[in-house]
Amino acid sequence: MLYRETGQFKTSYAADMAIFPIRQDRIALYVLLAIAFIGIPVLDALQVWPFAGEYLLRAILIPFLILSLAAVGLNILTGYCGQLSLGSGAFMAVGAYSAYKFGTGVHLPLGLFDIAIPALPVLPSILLGGVMAAAVGILFGVPSLRIKGLYLAVATLAAQFFFDWVFIRVQWFTNYTSSGSVTAPELNFFGLIVNKPVERYLLCLIFVTVVALLAKNLVRGNIGRQWMAIRDMDIAAELMGIRPLYAKLTAFAISSFIMGIAGALWAFVYLGSWEPLAFNIDRSFQILFMVIIGGLGSILGSFLGAAFILVLPIMLDQVPHALGIPISVETVSLLVFVVTGALICWLLIVEPHGFARLWLTGKEKLRLWPYPY
């Protein structure tokens, strides 16, 4: 009864094509944004449970936001444009290391002429990290014009292994540190030093909100329809004048740009100092699972998937301890693997299209409630 759009008449196409045409959805979004932007910082300032001790912010919310961002990026490529990619970790790494190089100053002696860029502030560094990732994404997207599906996945896997190798072996990228581990520059945003967990959280939140909004606009506009057309029936799309070259490469570019920013945030804001291992193949798989579990072709699904894959194991980890069951830490971590794996299987059997579809079905049912149809 609460969720019904009866009486909400649209008098213009602009109103009909709004992101959230239904009033209840808009209210829910405002409430969510208010909680995220105001509620959580206030609770943190008051140190109310469960915010006491920064654990929730530092270990759950910040990584959740950053990985959601990466999942949004991959969802554009795989969910909307239908190009399977196993190179997310590589694109994130390119974003992270490019941002690091721009943040600490680029000096490239090329013999005839040297390239020397002084250390840039953090914000341009992160954005340029995204731009570099987009360039690399376009490069590794070129094979998608000839190969599809699993074969393309293997081609993107090449990107993953190539960049794993590059960032370990080519010491120029790590400024010749002996350990291969690098430390992010100070997070100075126009004189504002972002240091406390709650500040870092808000920084990520702003990035995620802006990028998610822009991504949503893209996927419901002309380019989004081109991507989906290529995904669903590429031959028909081509015969309608959609150029596969343009559609696929823009998807690769925009998706990699978002993943590059996510990688830079992961390195700068979450990890602080990191090694190439932070962006290995496991990261690619983790993000792909988020997108599949959350729902291919849904921005909301990216967030739900990230929450499920990242937060659930952490929650499960706490359960035996909270219930006072005396089992060892190793047993708990093994159990978490078993339970998470079983839940993923169960979910994919019950709803192969992921959480986003469950959400839509729920909304449809809610509109008719209390009647079954």
Partner: protein, 266 residues
Amino acid sequence: MRATGGPEIAVGDVLLSVEAVSLSFGGVKAVSDVSFDIRKGEIRAIIGPNGAGKTSMLNIINGFYHPQHGRITFKGATRSRMRPHEAARGGIARTFQNVALFKGMTALDNIMAGRTLKMHANLFWQMLRVGPALKEEIEHRHRVEEIIDFLKIQDIRRVPVARLPYGLQKRVELGRALAMEPELLLLDEPMAGMNLEEKEDMSRFVLDVNDHFGTTVALIEHDMGVVMDLSDRVVVLDHGIKIADGTPDEVKNNQAVIDAYLGVAH
């Protein structure tokens, strides 16, 4: 409704002609030495028994297959092969024998996708969804709603097309082709698998498209009743060879056509 570009062609003049076109896949000759033309404003049927090369002919016309020999002249420009985007830009739209809709999108989005070539706002504006992008989106939504009204599919605009019954999917596909405002509309078995009522509806739409919008139609169809009633001229293919060309009455009484369809005593 007409696409831009190319010279104006008066009704009754040749819009498209294929000359001595041959296409083979390895040793299999799909089309050999076929010539015919399509005049502006007419409904032109391409018929023939199974495997006659009808669909291959459509694929040649809109650039999906490249013939080994022959020439294609469309709106005065002669090419040895058409390219898909040239054909689309030039104003050739088509539907497919097996419905080729974008399954994951709604009916509305499918038809909107047909307007891609006419939308020019760049990614920056699309990302912000203001200014030119929003204006364009609303403008084209207007045109798409006209097509939705024309095809009487208002109630299914928000339904993902995979959920629609077959007859409606065919109608949405016609809508998507119409959204391109084509000058030449290629219909590959628009009535296949339909019941009598749906066939009558579809025939009405084809006639209306031809009448109201002046769109030239080339259609492949197996239902002879439909073909004879709708079309102005019929070309008959058999085993990749043209065996007859003319008005429905001429074709109906052509001995070669009767032989091709009914078989001949050896």
